[in-house]
């Protein structure tokens, strides 16, 4: 078995259709639908049961969660496999970090089981939506600390936000089954982010350059997942930023503020891009 495993070789059965972030961003439907159905959604962009597209939105999000969990399982498994036991320098990782990755693999396996059952509960078929492989791409770095920054801190951090949102959605929709499951998954995600925060600090304690590089990589992934403002602290963003849970997971106030600012900038960038597109196409301006 190879030491490092490329994203394009991820094994899936024939139901799954994979795509990546670059392909997704090339799709005009992804970029240009900001505010297109705003009127029917009311003032808030948050995913709430009263939105006319709530059912489809929740199903799509749950499918995205499920394939994200599959990739998180694969990524944690690869990190448990790819690096020899050592003191954390070079290509080695401490045994206890390997152990944490194995534990995360088990947790993610349960999350796949949970989200597969929830998808079924919500009436979604496996493979009904495309699978974005960006999570596993973040787990392909040759530096294990970059993997921790990209996957455990950025993407699992996003998972905290998404699960908080879905838990609220379950509560508002009167779906205790959904709320119960999201609550449990959220507990695990906080643990995973904390693992990432703790190991990042510990392994790079005497290597500030490596730490800076890892945090920079985290920012790149965070920005990618700002989804053009899809996550943020205002109601204009479909997914909220779960400050409290992020703090529990080892983020400092400054770090959460930084992500919040990044989300805000991404939303403004996207709104400007949409305005420019609409002006050019002569379809009128976007409110807000």
């Amino acid at each position: 078995m190879r030491q490092f495993f490329p994203v394009e070789d991820l094994a899936r059965d024939e139901r799954f259709v994979q795509t990546n972030m670059a392909e997704r961003m090339k799709d005009a439907r992804t970029v240009n639908d900001v505010g297109s159905s705003r009127k029917s959604r009311g003032k808030s962009m948050r995913l709430t049961p009263d939105r006319h597209d709530a059912s489809d939105g929740a199903r799509s999000l749950m499918h995205g969660i499920m394939v994200g969990e599959i990739q998180a399982l694969e990524g944690a498994g690869r990190t448990a496999h790819d690096f020899a036991v050592g003191d954390g320098t070079g290509d080695t990782i401490p045994f206890e970090l390997k152990l944490d990755m194995a534990r995360q693999a088990w947790d993610e396996a349960r999350h796949v089981e949970i989200s597969a059952k929830l998808s079924d509960w919500m009436g979604t078929e496996l493979g009904q939506f495309a699978e974005n492989t960006v999570l596993f791409e973040a787990a392909c770095s040759n530096d294990p600390i970059l993997r921790l920054a990209g996957v455990n801190r950025a993407l699992e951090g996003l998972a905290i936000d998404v699960f908080t949102q879905m838990k609220e959605f379950g509560d508002l929709a009167g779906d205790p089954y959904l709320e119960f499951c999201e609550d449990w998954m959220l507990a695990d995600e906080v643990t995973h982010v904390k693992m990432g925060s703790d190991w990042l600090r510990k392994v790079t304690e005497h290597d500030p350059d490596r730490r800076a590089k890892a945090l920079e990589f985290q920012q790149v992934v965070d920005k990618l997942f700002s989804f053009g403002g899809a996550r943020g602290e205002t109601e204009e963003s479909p997914i909220g930023l779960a400050r409290r849970f992020r703090e529990l997971a080892g983020f400092t106030d400054d770090e959460v503020d930084q992500i919040s600012q990044m989300d805000h900038d991404a939303l403004e960038e996207r709104k400007a891009a949409v305005r420019a597109y609409r002006d050019k196409a002569g379809v009128g301006s976007v409110p807000g």
Partner: protein, 257 residues
């Protein structure tokens, strides 16, 4: 503090409470047999009548540490392999089982690494090694299949060859070590064996559901034969004498005590 017989001067009150001694039995044995409800005495035998644990065991501290080091190494190689394979198997149920079992074996490796310092090995990595060169070669052959169409081979290696060997080696160790001096090892083995049985059952059932044609049967048998041959050469997870017999002198200090 209440005076005891060990202090050498039995008190008058204790003498009054002393239970009647049955013919041919020591006072302690009499109490253990009779119980103390009638007299109110708290004197009990150190081993209850149903506690049949024995002091002697086949392994001294050094031999126990050697075996534990081999377990730690092999469990680690197994959890690494299962973690690495998760991304390579297209079958969703197998993918999730590999992820789950990956942690079970990581936990076993951790238990053994933590046991080594208790066995006077302060550098666990020194003993966290394969039993011999053949065992190292076995792990190389076990982890060789990577392509997505080789799920049967991956499962056969783990669930029809390696895990049965783990069950055998752990069972032998548990049944031959001192039940008193090496109780911590026995406790870990008992936890671990429960995982091994459950995981073996999971893996075997996955295999039975995947082996559906004569070609599948041939593939499973061929791979099992290939791996078994290397494992036989290795003599088992801890080398010759993994389950007793064989050459007990290969790097161990086993002997009847």
């Amino acid at each position: 503090m209440r005076p005891t017989q060990r202090d050498g001067d039995e008190t008058a009150a204790a003498a009054v409470r002393r239970p009647p001694v049955a013919r041919g039995l020591s006072p302690v044995a009499t109490v253990a047999r009779m119980g103390n409800t009638a007299t109110g005495s708290t004197v009990r035998a150190p081993f209850a009548p149903w506690d049949r644990r024995d002091l002697p065991g086949r392994f001294d501290v050094a031999e126990t540490a050697r075996r534990v080091g081999n377990y730690a190494w092999t469990e680690m190689k197994l959890f690494e392999a299962l973690g690495g394979w998760v991304a390579t198997v297209p079958e969703l149920d197998v993918k999730m089982r590999f992820g789950t079992h990956c942690y079970h074996h990581a936990w076993h490796a951790d238990l053994w690494r933590k046991r080594l310092p208790e066995l006077r090995e302060m550098k666990p990595e020194r003993l966290t090694v394969p039993a011999n060169e053949a065992m190292e070669r076995f792990v190389g052959a076990l982890t060789e299949p990577e392509a997505p169409e080789l799920t049967i081979e991956k499962l056969v290696g783990v669930y029809r060859v390696l895990i049965p060997r783990f069950i055998a080696a752990y069972t032998y160790h548990r049944n031959n070590t001192s039940e008193i001096t090496d109780a911590p090892t026995i406790r870990s083995i008992n936890f671990i064996l429960q995982d091994e049985y459950d995981d073996w059952r999971d893996g075997e059932m996955l295999l039975q559901s995947l082996i559906t044609t004569p070609d599948h049967v041939r593939r499973a048998a061929d791979h099992q034969q290939k791996l078994e041959a290397i494992m036989v050469e290795a003599g088992g997870i801890t080398g010759s004498g993994s389950i007793g017999g064989g050459d007990d002198t290969t790097g161990n200090s086993e002997g009847d005590h």
